[in-house]
Symmetry: D2
Subunit: 367 residues, 4 copies
């Protein structure tokens, strides 16, 4: 199922294994930077079975030298993948494209140092905000690569497909912003909901917090409980407001309260210009009619996070609110797939000219 | 720890055990009707160690004849409790007070048939709505005991303490309405928030759905997922609107979306009359200053459902919203304790003249 | 991704839709009987993306008439699948092969009534036990199709591959017996472990109990707890003993204690004929060297259920016991995939002459 | 409910608050060392409502200065508890007894430095192993207080009650050893089971691993999965073998495989001297007849971890094994209560001469 090339990491000779992957029109040699985290592992899971992708290198600074299967035994069956290496040891001449799964704030420096012919899908937040000042304000430091920022395309695939196709550097969206913008952008563009009264009660899987060993992520701290966090100050807020303001053609300010669990946005909106809950549904159905990964569920069916687990799908529905003139929009995704690595692969497919759904049509696992 | 009386069920001779509990000024002989469900079991757990309560009878129509410990092995250590019997076999002459943990709709008939000298705390929804027409509309049938409805006192303890003390029949509130009314009633009474723009994103534990064997409550259907349910049509809505309308002195209509998970209400409100998030906190702190079970957490601390698990406490906090002029109120309880059986015991304590906190001061279990 | 044929159910005209799937050498038209349960849904999930399978009919007696996506919204994206029908309404002339996902005890009658040219993979227990008397003893009734029993091939793929290839009726193994026989059969055949001292402490996912709405399967009864069940009397026992006795060439009697959770067998064995834990590992590595779905993990690495979640893989390892002369074998699978529907598809691939791994190479999902 | 003394921490003047608790015959002024971990918090939860205990000081080296409720908001209602301090700042003249909840290996030094008049219940492993060489071997370092080791009493309450009453330093047992020794010691003492063939398949709650922020304890690494760990080499093994060898009057070596999940030991034993599963049950019932916290369940009833959650109870039952001449013993506890802090309080009650069950009769929470 994998060509011989798949077994060869694009690693510089000095690390002891000379490996060469040949470029070809329909195979991309891909390096995954930061492959030891959850989004990195998910990128590898999806890419390992992708017919047009050869994994050329996996990096992990702290775990360099370990086999990938030692770090993620659930991927031991993707047996042609080699060991983790340091970024400095990757021979980027043997690489066509990069998934960058590194932490926020360190990513700009690293991407700046890569050869400029590489195609890059960046899963961090480092290139998501167009305004470098907003970036500095929310992420606590100067933007280290403002010239690259101008080049970066915001990769919410369904809304930016044409730009993504032509992009060299794609900023893959956050999981919350994905569940908010997919349903709201069409509605704001058509003026069907008020831009001044958007309340987002969002629930996210713990895995969204990454694999960092923090007390607040311990099993015992989380199991069988819920809690809101980052009330009124979550970093996905400027990203959401950027996207919605674009759609509304005016500044949009939202109420956004993330909760730790699943990955769902329950969004409370105020109807405008004669819109009704049914017309919102109709608008979303029309807008996403041809989309392979966005589904407006039948009227009355409530999206569950379990319905999309492990898949790249996004399920949406609209319900009348009990307060007249308002509606409730529910949108669910798997936060590691459509909310991160799946959408990243969707974007890479576009960037490389592969069919957009390649390697991404797995159905959800339930129960 | 238990007097001899504790070992005697108030069961009529025909079921073969003649048992007599003597009434005394400071001991209430209590029957738990519907003791085979979750709220019934929780009432027994809390009552078993209560110094002023003797459990005189436990009923369960389908499981009559079984020992209680067979149905709920976790209470086997409350060893003086006898077998489940049918309601018809209870000798109510030997009973002072009743916890009624029966299903909605069947409760009115049964309470109507009980001796009128009994004190009753009813955990069903059957006497919560003052307007019998609203009851008929939401619960799908005529009210079977309208004369008792007039007598019933709505037992949200912190808000109705004086009425509860004098009551014979207490309608114990639903878990959602408890998390909504405790924080909002004081704010509406003072006109600090708008009555026309209240959005409640509520999350509840699965146990709130009872022990009925339905597919939608199966472990495999629920584990590791979330889902909204009863969007815009949950039966707790009229109860909530009744309480908030009273507080506002005008009709209040709320947006209410319950989710299966924990027991938390995240409430989005619009500020009025110069109120600020801080003044909401101050108002709640003042209002609940002497309350043994309501805590306004320090500024900025987010209430978690884990903080109240297994306890009768209610934790609240208020946060500024990102939309100017709005605030977010978070309120958590354990849905089986303060949301049902704990509050029921709190009410019975008042009804019987016992100290209100007796048997209820257990601290939360974490993790 | 699907040919037009995929959109057509092999349903008799009377149910109002005339649909015809053409047979072809490399496409099997498949009916899934009992598609409304968990194993049925999982068979559909795996088959929907299988390049050689067209889903011709899905049956569900109680839910006939409903669209499949209404019953399992997580599969709404497999959009070419039609509605559930009754078995009596399926036109089996348009069907090449059947996955039978019906309950134990009813399956024999139904399979007996099917055209004898159909290939069948039966996921129930009805044809797993060669001895019809043992069947009667454990499943509480006469075997209804003893003539078919003789024809049935026990489909533990890795151990019976050649028989399965030639079979018409395959009895797909239970999940527990799969985790026990894959590691133990090679060891018993080689006489490396004692047949008289095998202790199996098995842990299974709740989904193994099916979608029946029973109190003991409610979320609230299970979450955050563990319990053994069917201690010394689980119905998978005769199936396990049948397989191990065959391997040992003598009667084997095992100690088997299933627990509700995950899907893992921790097996305690006594070494014989000079065997050591290392020689057990070596034997298993040799035996399963070419197997696509069985992996012996590197020495010392403990198999986790999370490592195989959602995949058809089986991970095994062997550890020295602290008691001299003994060893501990740990084997994990996903109980719905390799433990049921995945192995069923693996068998169907063999029966139909498709490559054995087709549609089954998904990697595990983690976290 | 708390006397004024409860509000006063026994903290040296230099930390700014002069507080004095007066000693009295029936009140113990208690310091909890290491109160910022799970067992520390659980000790505080149980002690806060104990009528004979005044919490005099809570220590936490890293979090000193923070209020206890800031670290554990679920205990905010135990409002009279002050801030965390450093051990060096505790005025031990104002302390009668100490719960020591510090990590293994550091505890010996600290206890050595405490005034010798203090009564101490140590929840670490540091004084559990009589043989200091065994300690060094399993815990990786010299025993730092061998002279105290001789004085230490192993506090498995039900088996060592008289020694504990007279003890100054009690080594509180580990959770696994508790679930193993309570059922097996009586059986070994009577020669009813073979000492050479004891197989323990143990499952423990994650909280047993403490609050240390390690990757392997993250929610995402654990949720919905199971895994064995420390196969054949868990540190509780020498403690178990010490206790069982004492009971057997000869060296006992057990097979012990802990799993992360709940807190249950499923123990496989070989019968001796004509014993039967029923005679094992009878022996355990006779042995523990008067015990307040140990229950042998009715014949055939399987102990669940949920039956003891949050309580100090230990539930046991015995089942026939399918292999002739063998039996299966199942024992469940809550790993933080009877497995740690509850048993510690039970021991402190004995040490101080309080009734043994004081503050410990809470019933289990379910669901």
């Amino acid at each position: 199922m994998k060509t011989a090339g798949a077994q060869r990491a694009a690693v510089r000779p000095r690390v002891g294994r000379k490996m060469v992957c040949k470029a070809s029109a329909d195979v991309a040699r891909v390096a995954v930077l930061g492959a030891s985290g959850y989004t990195g592992a998910e990128v590898v899971r999806l890419s390992a079975l992708h017919p047009n992708i050869t994994i050329a290198a996996l990096t992990g600074e702290k775990q360099a030298g370990k086999s990938f299967a030692e770090v993620f035994p659930h991927l031991v069956s993707a047996s042609n993948i080699g060991a983790l290496v340091k970024i400095a040891d990757v021979d980027f001449d043997q690489v066509d494209a990069v998934f960058c799964c590194l932490p926020h704030a360190t990513t700009q420096q690293i991407i700046k140092s890569l050869p400029t012919n590489l195609k890059i899908v960046d899963l961090s937040a480092d290139f998501r905000l167009r305004d470098v000042n907003t970036y500095a304000q929310w992420y606590g430091g100067e933007h280290a690569a403002p010239e690259l920022q101008e080049e970066a395309v915001y990769g919410l695939t369904e809304l930016k497909r044409e730009e993504v196709k032509k992009a060299r550097l794609v900023a893959n969206p956050g999981c919350y912003p994905t569940t908010v913008q997919i349903p709201l952008v069409p509605l704001l563009e058509k003026g069907l909901i008020s831009k001044d009264d958007i309340i987002i009660d969002a629930k996210s899987g713990v895995s969204g917090a990454g694999r960092a060993a923090k007390e607040s992520n311990l099993y015992t701290e989380i199991a069988e409980g819920i809690n809101a966090y980052g009330v009124s100050s979550h970093r996905h807020m400027p990203e959401i407001e950027q996207g919605l303001s674009d759609a509304a053609g005016a500044d949009v300010r939202v109420s956004f309260t993330p909760h730790l669990m699943g990955m769902q946005s329950t969004i409370y909106v105020k109807l405008e210009n004669g819109a009704t809950p049914d017309s919102l549904r109709a608008e979303l159905e029309a807008r996403y009619a041809g989309e392979p990964f966005v589904r407006i569920l039948p009227k009355g069916v409530v999206p569950h996070t379990r319905h999309v687990r492990g898949s790249n799908f996004c399920f949406i529905n609209v319900f009348p609110d009990r307060i007249a003139g308002r509606a409730i929009v529910i949108c669910v995704i798997d936060n590691l797939v459509k909310g991160a690595s799946g959408q990243a692969l969707q974007n890479l497919n576009l960037v490389m000219g592969f069919p957009e759904t390649t390697g991404l049509l797995q159905l959800a696992m339930f129960p």
